[in-house]
């Protein structure tokens, strides 16, 4: 894992001092709320419906057990005993007091964490594949570059007041688990014909009001030129991005307005002039950072673990959990364990302080003290011996952390919705809870198989509904909450934006509508292995419309 050196430590301490002063000036009335707003946002402090919210960065989703315990401590001492893991590898606390935020930031600094640039119109926390370093399909560990980007983008003097927020994601694997095509910049590591590893650069993807799949901007950027290339993209965007309309200010709008080719030309021109500057990354620097991400000292084990196989045969519940939550590991005899934060009837992504402590203990006992956070709002223990899986599962079960639903319909991404957020039009968590109860039968879940369901409480789309295989968007109609359904979205390599199926459903009807969609899929799929998204792409939206609204609706264009 990355460890702060004297520079990082000094920097974060100075940042805490700076923000402490800013809070004091605000409380003393020396600066207006308008002037204070971007300062607090760039330190992760939002003003929400009921209180301030603090969003803390978990860079590229990697946490140590010590850091997790600190989050548990903050949840207990400054919040109501909970934290909420978000879709961008951050954690949010919903109830801190403004005057306590500097103290929280000091606690975070003690364990090498911060809340810098988790909000505001700046470069946000850089995200990466939650299985980085251990996934079987990986070309290179993307966290090395995510850390390099974290450093470069932190308090970048030129890009602190961009037209709008800016999100970068990196994947180093052949299967995209970081949703790079729906980020402002998505970086995909690949090998070129000469056998060198570099980056394919995607730009202008994003969800929100105008969901767009990113455009391939540059097929290959060498590692040493990564930062100059990013700086060139940001410089073009900072000058030309729209600032007259909040909803047209993201880079995706600029790319569409200038045209992908012209945009690429502008970036290329800028890049050529800064390519061989002090931004060039010496390979030794990359190696230096890589050493922080060296894999732990694994035991040499056979890839066949008899006691694990026996437990799997003897215990069908354990077998189901293994099937959905355990992934193959690069190292023989080890496994990657996804811990679901989506229990039946729970709020997606929430963890209690006690659960945080338990996960920290489990990480120490079974995973070299390391934890990951996924953009699906789950946790990961990345290095578990297969022979420990059964014991781990038992301990997770005792903490209500053994839900067997990773990648299934109840592994729901949901934003906080109207329960917390002042932008929301409708509640999201209660809908997620309703659906998770409706599909609580583990056998049925496994039968349905891979199906991504995402819920947003408003068109800002923090719940990624556009890229859910089933997407649910809360809308307000004359003061009543309704839910619009989209089908066919995906954030993976086959990224696509879902299509609206028809008129919205009431709070009472939405779970039933999802049930109808699932039944229609099960009836239409050619085999158990045809996933929902494959069936949808094969048969189209009409059979679903028909099942939901009857024949008359199927021919009518979507009314909403």
């Amino acid at each position: 894992m990355y460890r702060y050196d004297e520079f990082d430590a000094t920097f974060v301490r100075e940042r805490v001092q700076q923000f402490t002063g800013q809070v004091e000036r605000r409380l003393a009335g020396e600066i207006t709320e308008e002037q204070f707003r971007p300062l607090r946002l760039q330190n992760g402090v939002y003003l929400q419906l009921h209180a301030y919210m603090l969003r803390i960065a978990i860079p590229y989703g990697t946490l140590s057990s010590k850091q997790m315990r600190k989050l548990g401590f903050i949840a207990r001492r400054y919040d109501r005993g909970f934290g909420h893991f978000t879709t961008r590898q951050n954690i949010q606390f919903n109830w801190p007091q403004l005057d306590e935020v500097p103290a929280i930031l000091e606690h975070l600094a003690e364990v090498e964490m911060h809340a810098i640039q988790t909000s505001g119109n700046c470069i946000r926390n850089t995200t990466a594949d939650q299985h980085s370093g251990v996934a079987k399909d990986e070309i290179e560990d993307p966290r090395v570059y995510a850390e390099i980007i974290r450093q470069w983008s932190t308090l970048h003097p030129e890009f602190a007041f961009l037209p709008r927020k800016f999100k970068i994601a990196v994947t180093g694997a052949s299967n995209d688990r970081a949703a790079v095509r729906v980020h402002d910049i998505g970086l995909r590591m690949l090998k070129n014909e000469a056998g060198e590893i570099g980056f394919e650069v995607w730009v202008g993807g994003g969800l929100g009001r105008t969901p767009i799949i990113g455009t391939a901007l540059k097929p290959f950027v060498e590692k040493q030129h990564l930062l100059s290339y990013l700086e060139a993209v940001l410089r073009v965007y900072n000058q030309l991005g729209r600032r007259d309309n909040l909803y047209k200010a993201r880079i995706k709008i600029l790319v569409n307005a200038t045209g992908a080719e012209e945009f690429a030309r502008l970036v290329e021109e800028e890049w050529q002039s800064i390519k061989d500057s002090a931004l060039t990354l010496p390979l030794e620097e990359i190696e230096r950072i890589r050493q922080y991400f060296a894999l732990p000292e694994y035991e040499s084990l056979p890839d066949w673990t008899p006691e694990f196989e026996a437990a799997r045969k003897a215990n069908p519940e354990f077998a189901r959990w293994v099937q959905s939550n355990v992934k193959p590991h690069r190292q023989a005899g080890y496994a990657i364990v996804d811990i679901s934060l989506k229990p039946e009837g729970g709020a997606p992504g929430d963890a209690s302080a006690d659960q945080m402590d338990i996960v920290a203990d489990l990480a120490d006992d079974y995973s070299f003290g390391e934890i990951r956070v996924s953009h699906h709002q789950n946790l990961v223990l990345p290095h578990v011996r297969q022979q420990d899986l059964f014991a781990l599962w038992q301990r997770l079960s005792g903490a209500k952390l053994a839900t067997s639903n990773i990648g299934f319909i109840t592994d729901i991404i949901a934003c906080p919705g109207l329960d917390y957020c002042n932008l929301a039009n409708a509640r999201a968590i209660p809908v997620a809870q309703r659906i998770s109860r409706a599909f609580s039968d583990p056998k049925r879940l496994a039968e349905i198989g891979e199906l991504r369901l995402n819920i947003s409480g408003c068109i800002n789309a923090c719940g990624h509904h556009h890229v859910g295989n089933i997407g649910i968007l809360g809308v307000d109609k004359h003061g009543e909450e309704f839910y619009q359904v989209t089908l066919g979205g995906s954030s993976r390599d086959d990224a696509s934006i879902g299509k609206i199926v028809g008129p919205a459903f009431s709070t009472e009807d939405i779970a039933g509508a999802v049930e109808t969609i699932v039944t229609t899929y099960l009836g239409a799929r050619t085999s158990d292995s045809e996933r929902f998204i494959d069936t949808y792409r094969r048969i189209g939206i009409d059979p679903f419309k028909e099942a939901l609204y009857g024949n008359s609706q199927a021919r009518r264009p979507a009314a909403e």
């Binding site: 520079f7 450093q151 000058q239 002039s273 800064i274 931004l279």
Partner: protein, 183 residues
Amino acid sequence: MAILKHGALQPNEWQEVSDDAALPETGNVIVSLDRWRRDEASLRASNRAIGVRLQNTQSPLALASDIDRLSLVVLDFPKFSDGRAFSQARLLRDRLGFTGEIRATGNVLRDQYLFMTRCGIDAVELPEGTPIEGFLEALSEFSVWYQPAADDRTHAMALRRGGKQTGSASTVVNDSVAAMWAY
């Protein structure tokens, strides 16, 4: 208006001349980019220092062939949250190699001042009577930076290599510089 430069308030020695006003007999003038284009020949020939005011929608690269004749470029922050001028300053310093004064005007706040100086802005226009202590304090809020920019502040990328060299982002790395980075 007063000018904060080199750590102290200075009198403004420049006269802002609107596009349709006659040029004063003597003294340093600031004109718009349009006026500079229109009267370039006579302004160039005149015996005075010249500054150009850029809107934040105008690319500084338009001044590429003029930069040697200019002593000042004025950049505008119409709202403190509009950060276009940060990139304009970088382009003036790094791409065009401008060594004259870059002055920030408009909604200039202390909490952006350090960013401004890192981007190459070396003077800011403030309403008379603005206390400058906060601005000066802001300059020392950080002792270390992660990235090279248009200033001489040491950045961690260089420090970690044990070198003293700072190097702005515009510094072209040649082999000898690269060799210094080895550690």
